[in-house]
Symmetry: C2
Subunit: 202 residues, 2 copies
């Protein structure tokens, strides 16, 4: 009996290889996973159903470590801040994952639990039921948008000298890609909480 | 002398073909543009410098029609609303363009002019100079995030029955992909303006 080509092939190995490929290039494919693991492409299907299955397992892995935040007994604004920050920390480590997870239904229980916690906090904030979904999507936009910004160039705007004075004034203050993404996220979180309070849905 | 293979090859034809490919598949390439226009790949370089050049020309085309909004004499909040809505209308027509334009420095004068108008409105709102850049990035996150959401599946969250009650309540209210994206954008804009006012930077 021939020795198995790769005795270590496992769901974990496939998922972490796919995530490495996404971090490096923004995408993954079965041929590239197989090549990197030095196995046949068909052997991957002994462990994984399809592309969607891999993406959902990546979502679970990325969110598993940090997304479970104890927020019982916290007021709604502190609960929201804690979960949204944890969500952002998870995804900021893998910004190129954003376009892939965006196009796929969330089935991972860890991620669903975070959304459930945020929905409950938004109810406590007095947001009317018909606006909870919009608020969850808005949180996604804030978090996923600021994470995607980590893939933006250092210089986002290059106005020619002598025009666009307000934009030039904003650009005069030094910043880094990470600093800009972080500052946009923090301002977004602050504005979101203050805005919810100011709109007085209750 | 042989008749030229494609007498109609032009910058405009290349740019609109690239945009069609992006709308269809999320990306473009020189070979695919050449194939669709039935020209040789090398002939494209008589009109276009490189991939980045095409993306910047697409940005110019997408933003050209609608982004010039007259906002002089408007109070800062109405000016912001008008420009941000126009920006969103432009990009919502081409949501798959978002990952491509995000990774490239903005050089198109039309787009730069819109950012300059928003920066001036944010100054009028009393936002401190060191936060203007963060606010512009936050606006990008709101607009580009809600546009990207148009590429999301109809069912974003699929919680199993009997768990995650707050998320189930939010999902009980019917919505469409477009409706969710629109509602998230409108809530984001409302929260952004109210939040800026409530934070009392002045």
């Amino acid at each position: 009996m021939p020795r198995p080509r790769s005795p270590l092939l496992s769901v974990e190995a496939i998922v972490s290889t796919a995530l490495d490929l996404i971090d490096e290039s923004g995408n993954f494919s079965f041929p590239r996973i197989a090549k990197r693991l030095e196995v046949s492409q068909s052997s991957l299907y002994n462990h994984i159903q399809n592309r969607e299955h891999i993406i959902e397992l990546i979502r679970a892995q990325v969110f598993a470590e940090q997304l479970q935040v104890p927020v019982e007994d916290l007021p709604w604004d502190e609960a929201l801040r804690a979960v949204i920050r944890a969500y952002r920390d998870c995804i900021a480590a893998h910004p190129r994952l954003v376009p892939l997870i965006l196009t796929q239904t969330v089935e991972d229980p860890g991620a669903l639990s975070a959304y459930d916690t945020m929905a409950a906090a938004l109810e406590q904030a007095g947001l009317p039921p018909e606006r909870i979904m919009a608020a969850l999507s808005l949180i996604d936009n804030l978090v996923l948008g600021s994470a995607m910004e980590l893939t933006a160039p250092a210089v986002v705007w290059a106005p020619p000298a002598g025009s666009f004075p307000a934009l030039h004034r904003a650009l005069d203050i030094p910043y880094t890609v990470e600093g800009r993404s972080e500052a946009a996220f923090e301002l977004g979180l602050e504005v979101f909480i203050s805005g919810l309070r100011a709109l007085e849905f209750t």
